[in-house]
């Protein structure tokens, strides 16, 4: 079905199920319980999960398949965001043209950047992309202020009058999909649980599912095979009559367009952009997401994006008071000591936790969280088998 083989179809269905039910799955704790702060089922964060999932899926199409490590992918995300917000400011507040604009602008930009950077490979390619991204950041921050709004960035103002809109005098436009506001939410109260179904999240989630589906198709296509061939042995590739250059450029541009799509969606959900979106740390983040989840796997990048965004938004909100509350049952001295030990890993220290997690994964699970999952799966299977063979006392013949 859908032109996918059985395994891929299964994966697609699982991902579809999980994203559609995310408001439930991410809110497992009752509102009044102490664990409620670990709930991630609020619109803003759920939107981030899927949008950065798209960003990472696209990044993985380049890095996972061809092995070219771009260290400047945030530039495409940023450019996509700028393109989208101008579309909203000038043409229409509907998110569809804005998102399209984000993809197109990022695509054009990545043709130019890719054409130049792909003249080199390995670390030189990475450095070139990093240089491009930092240049873009610096330009957006200073020289290009008329287009980018400089340090403060761009947002939709009450003076913006897009061509296709019927705003009243002085009314500030809002992103919508044929009239449906992105911030529109439906709340469901069941007992002590509160589930939020947000229009913006579902739109972003559907876009992510499409992006994920397309990425599966690319992975399984002749083009995907060629990209893996490039990663494996470029010499053999050239001497087999295949030109690696247009292949890598195409992968680079597709990947850049995914980043632009993510950038456009970010604007559609929250109508503002700043240059910091292109800063090198943002480029580094998508590298971490992909490696953490599993480079070259289908679902890995989405998992990695989820884990990192979860930590960034949830772990970072736990402060000293919360810790004291948790460990209040302990004797005072011990409580202080434990809090002292745990504190560096939470709140602003969440980066430390991420760093340790990242190191552990790279050292022990080179295939990322996906490999971890596969190992657990195998272990469970083997345990079942061991029982079967161990339990059977009858002779084989």
């Amino acid at each position: 079905m859908l032109g996918l083989n059985k395994k891929d179809l299964q994966l697609m269905l699982i991902v579809t199920g999980l994203t559609m039910l995310a408001p439930f799955i991410l809110n497992p704790f009752p509102e009044s319980s102490g664990m409620a702060q670990f709930n991630a089922g609020y619109p803003d964060l759920m939107q981030r999960f899927v949008i950065f999932g798209i960003f990472a899926i696209g990044f993985n199409l380049l890095f996972g398949l061809t092995g070219y490590l771009s260290f400047g992918h945030a530039a495409f995300l940023g450019v996509g965001s700028y393109g989208a917000i101008w579309m909203m400011k000038l043409v229409s507040l509907n998110v569809i043209p804005a998102i399209f604009m984000g993809v197109i602008v990022a695509g054009i930009f990545s043709v130019a950047v890719g054409y130049i950077c792909l003249r080199r490979s390995g670390i030189y390619f990475s450095i070139l992309t990093l240089a491009f991204a930092q240049m873009s950041y610096a330009l957006a921050y200073s020289v290009l202020t008329p287009i980018t709004g400089g340090e403060t960035g761009l947002q939709i103002k009450s003076t913006d009058r897009p061509i296709f809109s019927s705003l009243e005098e002085g009314e500030t436009g809002r992103a919508n999909l044929f009239g449906m506001d992105m911030r529109q939410s439906f709340e469901l109260n069941i007992g002590d649980w509160l589930f939020t179904f947000n229009a913006g999240y579902y739109i972003a989630a559907i876009v992510m599912l499409i992006a994920f589906y397309v990425s599966i198709r690319i992975f399984r296509s002749p083009f995907g095979l060629m990209l893996r061939a490039i990663k494996s042995n470029q010499t053999r590739m050239s001497y087999t009559g295949l030109n690696p250059r247009p292949h890598t450029l195409a992968a680079f541009v597709i990947s850049g367009m995914y980043a632009g799509l993510a950038g456009g969606l970010l604007v559609a959900m929250d109508t503002q952009v700043g240059p910091e979106r292109m800063f090198w740390t943002a480029s580094g983040e998508v590298v971490l997401m992909t490696i953490l989840g599993g480079v070259g796997t289908l679902i890995g990048p989405v998992l990695g994006a989820g884990v990192i965004k979860y930590m960034e938004n949830i772990l970072s909100k736990i402060n000293k008071d919360v810790l004291h509350e948790w460990f209040a049952f302990m004797p005072d001295g011990l409580e202080d000591f434990i809090v002292f030990l745990v504190y560096p890993f939470i709140g602003k220290g969440w980066h430390l936790t991420l760093g340790i997690l990242f190191m552990l994964v790279v050292i022990f699970l080179p295939g990322g969280l996906v490999e971890g999952g596969q190992r657990i799966g195998k272990w469970i299977k083997n345990r079942g088998k061991a029982k079967d063979t161990g339990g059977s006392t009858e002779p084989a013949e």
Binding site: G3, N5, V214, R217, I218, R220, S221, P222, F223, G224, L225, M226, R228, A229, K231, S232, N233, T235, R236, M237, S238, Y239, T240, G241, L242, N243, P246, H247, A250, I254
Partner: protein, 251 residues
Amino acid sequence: MGILEVKDVGKRFGGLQALGDVNLSVKENTVHAIIGPNGAGKSTLLNCLVGKLIPDTGSVMFDGQSVLGRTPHEINQMGISRVFQTPEIFGDLTVLENMMIPCFAKRDGAFRMRAIEDMMREKDIVEKAESMLVDMNMADKHHMHAASMSRGDKRRLEIGMCLAQEPRLLLLDEPTAGMARADTNNTIDLLKQISDERDITIAIIEHDMHVVFSLAQRITVLAQGTPLVEDDPENIKGHPKVREAYLGETA
């Protein structure tokens, strides 16, 4: 006129004249061996034929067209395939995938974007790759990781990948170097079979005299970057110049 005509090719590396005025003519549908002591310039000559190196002087014509100034993939698409001294295969891919790539290259050319189709549903490609694996006696290795195979199998796969492109000229650079006797004999048999069964010209660089004299119909002896003699195998064996320059070491 041979299918491959090398005229006055010279190549310098700094102060070293690696090749000087090499002339060589390879006739269609023959096996032509190029032999010579280490450092004679055999690999350099081969690299000049496939676009890896550009000679300083002279011309290289394949089937009436110059190959000079073309990139390796363009030259390959003209009909020249190359087997490397150490097997170059796609180690991360399966054996079947390895074999499918040259089939795609043959059908679709140097670049064609087919990003939505399912590669396993390209029936003609899969069938061709599978039948090639049968020809290479590797049908059972199908889903193996190419990198995990033995050296001899990698060599077989590489030769098979080159043949899948149906090249007119197959170039081999010391295909049996570092191989055990049994693997060497297997490779000889395979190459013999290939040259008997297919319309293909083979140019082989080889160090191992056993291989050369079991395969070649014509031999060029290269020494210090220049061809000493070009003749039939019987005449080469007893040639005094050759004995002096090359066979003398072993005889």
